[in-house]
Symmetry: C2
Subunit: 336 residues, 2 copies
DNA sequence: GTATATAAGGAAATCGATTTATATGAATAA
DNA sequence: TTATTCATATAAATCGATTTCCTTATATAC
């Protein structure tokens, strides 16, 4: 009884005295098989412990039932909580439809890996997380009509599907809230200008100030990356001049944490001296001290929607390009 | 110029006026191809933008260059930071060897999904994270000689490979440290007894008390799950009696956070009234207030080792079963 | 009673690579 | 000079399913 010799469809067909085609019909629950035949084959499949070779199936029917997820690999930990939450949403949907997830952590510079995977017919579709705007290869994906969806990356182009959050609105919520608390001197710690996220949030900030007829102080716009340590470094200059802001809006939660560290280091207090507000509502946000007030992105839902849209495209249930913006929400905690 | 008609190896062979075999040799960098022929074929591959179909390749050579990772799906977020760190380590190694990662979030009850994947020849090997001890199907994996490695799951059996941390030693480090701080009344908040992690840490605790000749108080052993909320609930009874412990060792960091929440809720202070110590050193540990003293598991390294061992098994570079224990380390912060 | 669906099933081609076995001419060894 | 090796290359089989295209018998419609 050598368990290592795999039973194939031919073995079942031979034992059952039918053609492979008939066995295939039974496996795939297709019609044109008599009840009696079907039962006999099903029994044999169990007895002989047959399991279809999924690779062979994929080669033949040209679908792998696998979707790829491109995850940017930054620093040591490529899966921060932001990405984990989106992944959870994606996973929830695709599992329902019997798809699988293939994970591709990619270095930002190195774009060679994913190409061979897409072109190598290994996946049926792709979800792209946190892609910077200037990636050259994305156009080639669209050219070959490969199904893919951006998450949190606005790309207003008929060729591209995306699910994004209402970034501008989120920042406006933040400004309104801080304004209602009596704050009038706003600083903004911006994320990468290579991500639409970063750009949109900064623009939202500028618009919100204009709406409120507040002075826009260019020195209080700190540019940088979506990165705690960089935010910690760059935000230092907010505290050297005599005139300081009283509210600091950050482009994401990790950055807000960096800014709070900086504030503490400079000997000030949050929220007494400075209100700080983040964006995303990652897991840590509620754990830190003071607990972080933030704009919650529906990360899980973002994943859910992206997966649903992708499956629609793959299964041709959708013809139109999808540009979707999900609602954000102000989460009040202790940092304002 | 229809980009959707894929170029195959046959197309290249025809254009080059050679057999498919020769093209295959060029693709795989094999010998027995004249330099001139090789150059000509390489040129054609570029010109015609040929990319091998990886599914076809897998069917033929019976390797998918993909390893699967079984991740338990608990609550809403299946990827907590603990798992993310391990994954980062795994990813680092397998990418170097041109393997890919397929992620399988599984519900603890439902064991049907992974079987078809393993048996369906979709992956070359499997890494199992946080598997409970009583899974029935694992034996069937061993029976068919499928390569797999446990992470953080001790299974002292010649059939199984694993990489684990020195759990007992970690708890002993914790006890020693707390003892050196003058603590003498130890409580232990245990994780699931279905995971060897949980069992080993509890046993480590008992042994450490014995070593130190401290009284073992059964009421101060709180059993539960590796879960913050459950720890919060169950640890309540540590604080109702007059005689309370002065040090609380927790089976993981999330639990420690739950216990600290409980302590605060009961109106006590950490570390003044109670020293609390966790296990793992997840990302949040350093962010909370007070920053959590904990036993660091080399999570990233755990992933690195698991991947290396698995690749060795897959490529038959290793005959012996591997049972590996990695060093843990005391990280002193503010909760003790 | 004949024409036409419909159900049941099979044979061969196919998916796109690799593996295996074989052939040929040139270089080297005996 | 003959035998052997080596480099180069090919044809055919193979991997294990599905797809496509038939065939046959039976049921239904007209």
């Amino acid at each position: 009884m050598n368990k290592n010799i795999k039973v194939t469809i031919s073995d079942i067909a031979r034992e059952a005295g039918v053609s492979k085609m008939t066995v295939s019909r039974v496996i795939n629950d297709a019609s044109n098989v008599a009840k009696k035949t079907r039962t006999k084959i099903q029994k044999l499949i169990k007895e002989m412990d047959y399991q279809p070779n999924l690779i062979a199936r994929s080669l033949s029917n040209k679908r792998t039932m696998t979707i790829g997820i491109l995850v940017p690999k930054r620093e040591k930990i490529f899966l921060d909580n932001y990405i984990a939450q989106i992944l959870a949403g994606v996973s929830e949907i695709i599992k329902k439809h019997d798809y699988r997830i293939m994970l591709f952590p990619i270095d930002i510079e190195d774009d060679s890996g994913y190409v061979s995977i897409v072109r190598g017919n290994l996946i049926d579709g792709l979800i792209l997380l946190k892609i910077s705007s200037d990636d050259t290869w994305i156009n080639s994906l669209a050219e070959i009509d490969f199904p893919f969806v951006f998450v949190n990356h606005r790309r207003e182009d008929e060729k591209f599907n995306f699910v994004d959050s209402e970034n501008k609105k989120g920042i406006k919520l933040a400004v309104d809230y801080l304004y209602s608390l009596g704050r009038r001197d706003f600083a903004f710690v911006a994320g990468s200008m290579n991500e639409t996220n970063g750009v949109d949030r900064l623009n939202g900030f500028k618009e919100a100030l204009k709406d409120k007829k507040l002075i826009f102080n260019d020195e209080w716009i700190i540019k940088g990356e979506f990165n705690k340590d960089i935010a910690f470094e760059n935000s230092a200059k907010l505290f050297i001049k005599k005139k300081k802001p009283d509210a600091i809006i950050c482009s994401d939660d990790y950055m807000a944490i960096g800014v709070i560290d900086r504030i503490i280091k400079e000997g000030f207090r949050v929220p007494q001296d400075f209100s700080v507000i983040g964006f995303d509502d990652i897991e840590i946000a509620s754990y830190i001290n003071p607990a972080l007030t933030t704009i919650r992105q529906p990360l899980h839902e973002l994943g859910v929607r992206a997966a649903s849209i992708l499956l629609n495209i793959i299964n041709k249930r959708n013809v139109n390009t999808v540009h979707e913006f999900l609602e954000v929400e102000l989460i009040k905690r202790d940092s304002c």
